[in-house]
Amino acid sequence: MAKQVRAVVISGNGTNCEREVANACRLAGADVVDIVHVAELLSGRARLDDYHFLNLAGGFLDGDDLGSAKAGANRLSHAAVKNSEETLSDQLHRFIADGKLIMGVCNGFQLMTKMGLLPALGGDYKRQSATLTFNDGGRFEDRWCYLKVDQESPCVFTHGLAGLYLPVRHGEGKFVVENDSVLQEIEAKHLAVVKYSDSEYNSPVMEYPLNPNGSVAAIAGVCDETGRLFGLMPHPEAYIHRTHHPRWTREPELPEEGMGLFLYNNAVSYIRKELL
């Protein structure tokens, strides 16, 4: 492979945000950004091995009909790649073992969590220990949220950030863990990368609407212990330009680049430094 940062965004079966995620990757300087329909991966024409940065974008995989991303997780785990011995899941686990980056946003985060890719305590990427379920309010909501970043987190995407302001757009965003010890371990290892917070990014908040869904410990996103796999409910690709900000017409000091772009910038820098 030439010295190119190669990013892929999977589309199909209800993924909706593939175009704007691909755009964010491009703006962050990825040299190759492909939107690949899952059918192309299953046909064997496209392979995850050819990329460094896998994006699982927001949407409603299979309509979230069996619970958010459940049917999608089932497909990735079982669907065979044509003319090969592998399933897509085999390619995915090789991708992780190769030290590459995965970011799941919203439905992508739900997918990663339900497949066991996050938080993957102890490096076990096949055992589910947390989930995302219905917002306490029982409804889908589109709302901008303040996120306090855990600066001690190993997450490579949030490196150098203290806070983020991004929109959530989900009905099933409440982060729930299997038991208290899972939560303790997530906290102890600083895997709860982003938490819903007050507007000054001072402390996590449990109250609606700052915490839009009632997530345990106000968790909005988590990473694995390597920091290379990251999932979050808020949409970083929805704030990559100042005109995305809900108050850009009244806050002239907002920079041209939106906050969400930093996550993609960090991913691309990491790949240049560590993987090329």
Binding site: S11, G12, N13, G14, T15, N16, C17, R19, E20, N23, H37, A39, S43, G58, G59, F60, D62, G63, D65, L66, G67, K70, A71, A73, N74, R75, H78, A79, A80, Q128, S129, A130, T131, T133, F134, N135, D136, G137, G138, R139, F140, E141, D142, W144, P167, R169, K174, V176, V177, E178, H235, E237, A238, I240, T243, H244, P246, R247, T249, R250
Partner: protein, 993 residues
């Protein structure tokens, strides 16, 4: 054999869905339950092993962190009454479809055609519940008898070992499909009986036109050649009824209308559609010359205008009123995903970019007895909002603009307007993207969902005639995921040039889509037996006119069929080759090789006799009301802000994803705390350009009670001033007219038909006059003409309503302006003159009055103002800009202030008037074409220079305190309220919806 898999939340997990159901049962039915918990049920009817079923239950069907499951035994415990709600046979079950696919992925085997997974939901109700209450909860809230069935089991009657018995809602049918001849050589009464019985909705004149067609010798001879007798087949009669229906042929808009106005002036109008709608577009285009923006108008599924040199914009707005009245959720869901197919099926196909929705309901707090068969407005509100939410969000299309309008008469029929905008390349594979042409020899290919009895004969069916196993036909439920897969596939097929033409299957199904596309070649030959079916037992005519959703029809050149088909298979989309386009001149359908229809294209498309309507305009008589000036104008303002037409719709807006696709620039909610009411949406469709699409609308049915001419004029003006407020270029904008009327055909049932027809004429006259004056071409539209409720002696007719939607452009979206006040010290200007025009206003409505001084629109003055506003925006002179509509100046001031988080000092003496007026009239007049803007003091001089010579006035200043302070005509403190109090009054009414 069938298994029942039940999946429930673990006891320590909060059941947010159950809590919401409990809350809503209290709101809707006034029954206060202790708790509601929910359990999902999957009935798996397929050849599987116990292990395979267990793997499905443990895998895709349940979440081990929060859920437990059981197979063939219950999870339900600790309840007083259990209600299980499932679908009737044949109703689209999206979750069941996904569950079936999940098992197929797990086992690697496909289900047989008669195997399936069926879903239902158990509601475990705790509390004191009488049998009557349980029945009400099931019937009036949890279930909808048209599409669902339910079991109610009290705790005492519940078998804790076996649970609820297995029910498999499979469609069963012993019907043998056949083509049947229909004898039309019968009396007039019998002809009408055929029309009524068969739900053909054809009138006697139309039935007789069909009768005489079949009497012609040459017709009989040509039918003989294809093996048909002299009598029409049922397939032919159904195809004619579909094509000639009001829905497809717009017979009222095409009618010859003999109109007489109140001065006794008589006039004959030959088609309102041609003489008003098409004519004004032609006249505007001619006047604009090289600046004409239209590319494709009135000939395709949606209208197309230029965006820039490389891209075109496509826009269509639909209504889905009757289905939403019967099943609010399914009707509205189908409305939006159905509307999506129109722009997608325009030209060679377009990428969907945004949705809009406008709903007209009766108050959700309606507390009077409802006539039979009407659903409570609150239930309609809930269901419609959720249907559009699922349809839009799941399809990945942002809902960027909308409205909620309330009037008691919408209890009789809610109006559900759904719009979809899209973008397409100006040139595709060397051809204009907005054009298409099926060619002789092209294959007729259907893609997407399968054909069922869905939507046959629309909403006229009666549920009593159904037997247990018969599928429900009237109500359809959209399936956004099947449609999304189809769109993903078709956009690739489009870019690879794999088809010559595309259209959607909506009303009239294949009959309409193939019949219309075949006008390119003048004929087709289609094999109805080749259409994939959801279940066996469909008659050939049912296949032809089924409105089963998620289907598109393409004309695929034979040499590209293999590639088209391979791509479809790889992307998991089902397609079927149904036949070919010919130049035979005939609408030729076959079933198992036998001719089922053989009708000349000319007769089916142009054979319908023109309707003749009488219209007589007698202006209604209203008085201007007399009441004293309210003593407490603060209370009056709060009361106005809390009116349903004015108050915040945030609870609804937040349920729609308005940002997906990454192009959201001006959102529906703006201001310092992201909750002020935006005038219009700005969307950035291209990541590499700062050109923006601007979307807005106007709707004001309350003025129809005085004169529909001014209702129409105001709707157009409202749409344009909202559009201009955010920065939309007034020279680059197109309109869409969506008429929703009550039946205007005079009859025994409609004794005031001549008046209603005159109302229609007057609205169309205004449409012509004002679109011409504003230079706005109409590019698409729709009419829905029978929005009446009539059962027994009760008739409810909606107020005549036109939604005027606009789409256009802002050259540089970084210059867009929002409505919130930006900084203390900014000057507040009112653009336009305020007159004594409160007829049909919110203020009069609050006093239960109509009045007669309906606002008149002065288009030339408005046009000059809008152009100057554009110039001021371009120079960056406007800090904020907000339109004045329902509730006039006072409401606009309050909204601008609290959205910005600043107070204002306003002097009513400064407001520009044509004659002295009482203070409440100054505050609440709804005179048209007015805008409230704030301007930085540094820009004052330039701003005033730009507007010199036009009616405008500086009426005050944005203040640094939290008071909206309005000084009255004597300088007294007329209004002195904190913006928090005003905002609370504005936010509270629908906050909990």
């Amino acid at each position: 054999m069938a298994w029942r898999i039940v999946v429930g939340l673990k006891d320590n997990v909060r059941d947010a869905r159950g809590e919401r159901v409990r809350r809503e049962i209290r709101e809707h039915l006034g029954i206060d339950l202790q708790s509601v918990r929910t359990i999902d049920v999957y009935t798996v009817d397929a050849q599987l092993s116990d292990e395979e079923v267990a793997a499905a239950a443990a895998g895709p069907f349940s979440d081990p962190i929060i859920q437990d499951y059981a197979i063939n035994q219950p999870l339900a415990h600790n309840f007083d009454v259990l209600v299980e709600v499932g679908y009737r046979p044949g109703v689209t079950d999206n979750v069941g479809r996904t569950a079936r696919e999940a098992i197929q992925y797990q086992t690697g085997r496909s289900f047989a055609s008669d195997e399936g997974v069926y879903t239902s939901v158990q509601y475990l109700l705790s509390g004191k519940i009488s049998t009557d209450d349980a029945e009400r909860i099931a019937r009036d809230f949890l279930g909808n008898g048209l599409i669902q069935r339910w079991d109610i089991i009290a705790r005492a009657g519940f078998d804790s070992n076996k649970g609820v018995p297995v029910t498999v809602p499979k469609v069963t049918s012993t019907v043998k499909p056949a083509i049947r001849p229909v004898d039309l050589e019968i009396s007039d009464e019998d002809l009408m009986e055929i029309s009524r019985q068969g739900m053909l909705a054809l009138n006697l004149e139309e039935m007789k036109a069909i009768q005489s067609y079949y009497r012609q010798d040459e017709v009989i001879a040509s039918r003989k050649e294809v093996g048909l007798g002299a009598m029409p087949t049922d397939v032919e009669l159904e195809a004619l009824a579909q094509t000639w229906s009001e829905h497809c042929k717009h017979k009222i808009f095409a009618a010859r209308i003999e109109y007489e106005d109140d001065q006794g002036q008589q006039e004959v109008i030959n088609s309102l559609f041609k003489s008003c709608i098409m004519q004004v577009t032609a006249d505007v285009r001619k006047a604009k010359g090289k600046d004409d923006i239209c590319l494709s108008v009135f000939k395709d599924n949606a209208g197309v205008i230029k965006f820039n040199d490389d891209w075109s914009l496509v826009y269509k707005v639909e209504t889905h009123n009757s289905p939403s009245a019967l099943d609010p959720y399914g009707g509205a869901l189908t409305g939006i995903v159905g509307c999506n197919r129109d722009p997608f099926g325009t030209g060679m196909g377009a990428r969907l970019m945004f949705n809009t929705d406008v709903f007209c309901f009766a108050s959700p707090f309606y507390d009077k007895p409802l006539p039979p068969r009407l659903l409570h407005p609150r239930r309609i509100f809930e269901g419609v909002v959720e249907g559009v939410e699922h349809g839009g969000n799941k399809s990945g299309i942002p809902t960027v603009n909308g409205s909620l309008v309330f009037d008691e008469r919408f209890a009789g029929k809610p109006l559900v307007y759904c719009g979809t905008g899209a973008i397409m390349p100006r040139v595709l594979n060397g051809q204009p993207g907005h054009e298409k042409e099926a060619k002789v020899g092209d294959r007729i290919v259907m893609a997407g969902g399968r054909v069922g009895k869905d939507g046959i004969h629309g909403a006229t069916f009666s549920s009593e005639e159904l037997h247990e196993g018969s599928p429900v036909t009237a109500v359809q439920i959209g399936d956004p995921i099947t449609q999304r897969r189809m769109f993903d596939f078709l956009i690739i097929a489009r870019d690879r040039g794999l088809y010559n033409a595309i259209t959607d299957n909506g009303a009239g199904g294949l009959s309409s889509s193939v019949g219309e596309m075949a006008e390119f070649t003048n004929g087709f030959e289609m094999h109805l037996d080749r259409a994939p079916l959801k279940y066996a037992g469909l008659q050939p005519w049912e296949i032809l006119i089924s409105e089963a959703q998620e289907r598109m029809t393409m004309a695929v050149p034979p040499e590209k069929l293999a590639e088209f088909s391979a791509l479809a298979e790889e992307m998991g989309v089902e397609i079927a080759d149904l036949g070919e386009f010919t130049d035979s001149g005939y609408f030729h359908c076959l079933y198992n090789g036998e001719t089922a229809s053989y009708l000349p294209m000319e007769f089916i498309h142009n054979g319908v006799p023109q309707m003749v309507l009488q219209a007589r305009w007698t202006p209604p008589v209203h008085q201007e009301p007399v009441f004293s000036l309210p003593l407490d104008m603060n209370a009056t303002l709060r009361q106005m802000l809390g009116r349903l037409d004015i108050c915040s719709k945030e609870s609804v807006v937040r349920r729609y994803d308005h940002e997906v696709q990454g192009g959201s620039v001006i959102k529906p909610l703006v201001g310092v705390t992201n909750d002020g009411p935006s005038d219009a949406a700005v969307v950035r469709p291209l990541f590499d350009s700062f050109e923006g699409v601007v979307v807005a609308h106007g709707i004001c049915p309350s003025y129809s009670d005085i004169d529909t001419y001014h209702m129409m004029a105001n709707a157009i003006d409202e749409g344009l001033r909202n559009y201009v407020a955010v920065g939309g270029n007034i020279n680059h904008v197109a309109g869409l007219d969506n008429f929703c009327w009550c039946d205007p055909v005079a009859s025994e049932k409609t004794p005031d038909g001549e008046y209603k027809a005159a109302q229609l004429v007057r609205a169309n006259k205004a449409l012509y006059d004002y679109c011409l004056a504003f230079g706005v071409p109409l590019i698409s539209g729709k009419d829905s003409m029978k929005n009446d409720y009539m059962i027994g002696g009760t008739k409810i007719s909606i107020p005549p309503t036109v939604l005027f939607s606009v789409i256009g452009k802002i050259e540089n979206l970084r210059k867009a302006v929002t409505m919130d006040a930006k900084a203390p010290g900014d000057l507040v200007y009112l653009l336009g003159q305020t007159r004594d025009e409160l007829g049909g206003s919110e203020y009069y409505a609050m006093h239960d009055q109509i009045g007669c001084n309906v606002p008149h629109v002065d288009a030339s003055s408005a046009m000059q103002r809008y152009r100057t506003v554009n110039a001021a925006q371009d120079e960056g002179l406007l800090a904020s800009c907000h339109d004045l509509s329902d509730g006039g100046l006072a409401v606009s001031l309050a909204e601008t202030a609290f959205a910005g988080g600043f107070g204002m000092d306003i002097d009513l003496n400064k407001v520009l008037v044509d004659a002295a007026m009482r203070e409440d009239k100054l505050l609440y007049s709804e005179s048209a074409s007015r805008l409230l803007v704030t301007v930085k003091p540094a820009s004052q001089e330039r701003f005033e220079t730009l507007f010199a010579g036009q009616p405008f006035a500086c009426i005050g200043q944005v203040s640094s305190d939290e008071y909206l302070h309005v000084a009255g005509l004597q300088g007294e403190a007329l209004i002195h309220s904190t913006i928090d109090d005003l905002k609370e009054a504005w936010q509270s009414p629908l906050r909990e919806m």
